[in-house]
Amino acid sequence: MKPVNEMKIEFVSRSSNESFARATVAAFVSQLDPTISELADIKTAVSEAVTNCIVHAYKNSIGTIYISVQIFDTGRITIKIRDKGVGIPNIKKAMEPLFTTGGDERAGLGFAVMQSFMDKIKVTSKIDKGTTVTLEKDIIPRVLRNG
């Protein structure tokens, strides 16, 4: 399936870019006329993935974070968030709710939130090469919403 629209951004892993990233993705998917609740879900999931790049992937360094968003004519959106950081040794374990290597102030819920707020999540990772998180969500077309 070919996307009907697509965008790509990249930016350095500074925490001040967390709000930039989620706002930019939200602005792009707004063309599908999502509900406020759908938009909040997307912003939260993007914020989780981007924060993970900053906090974990580039823990002791500054690297580049890559985001691409594709929109399909069915109303499906696919969001890819990619880093070239440390990678995840055990993805299954990392995705378990409450698992964290981030210490006291982290809840270990980022993946659980992405899973719950989006329709689909896929994570691929390679040690010292980086991690890609792919998120999918079907935006219900407005014509069908009230019917």
Binding site: E18, T44, S116
Partner: protein, 112 residues
């Protein structure tokens, strides 16, 4: 500054404004912890009425303040939770702790 604190009747209220994410959480945490240290309150109330956005960094923030208040034998209360933040907190299972949640959210959830 995206946080204001008020103190009366042994209760410290922190009114948080704007977005709670990893970038802003540190400043919010430091302001609250400093005020707690100064006032030694028996209850801490976090007011989310003016919060536009929160991700799991906010859950970490709440958990940390819960632990802090337990150390002081005090309580933590969450008020004026917007719908989306309420969903996020429900997902976290935080409501199974003895955190008081009221005003602006009709039903109090309990979990096993």
């Amino acid at each position: 500054m995206n946080i204001k604190t008020e103190f009366s009747d042994k209760t410290l209220t922190a009114i948080i404004e704007g977005d709670i994410d990893h970038h802003t959480a540190k400043g919010i945490r430091e302001t609250i912890d400093l005020a707690v240290e100064e006032k030694n309150p028996s209850a801490l109330t976090l007011d989310f009425g003016n919060v536009q956005f929160m991700d799991s960094s906010g859950i970490g923030l709440i958990m940390g303040r819960y632990r802090l208040m337990k150390l002081l034998n005090g309580n933590l209360e969450l008020v004026n939770l917007p719908e989306h933040i309420n969903r996020l907190i429900s997902l976290s299972g935080l409501f199974s702790l003895d955190i008081i949640k009221n005003k602006g959210c009709e039903q109090i959830e309990t979990r096993e």
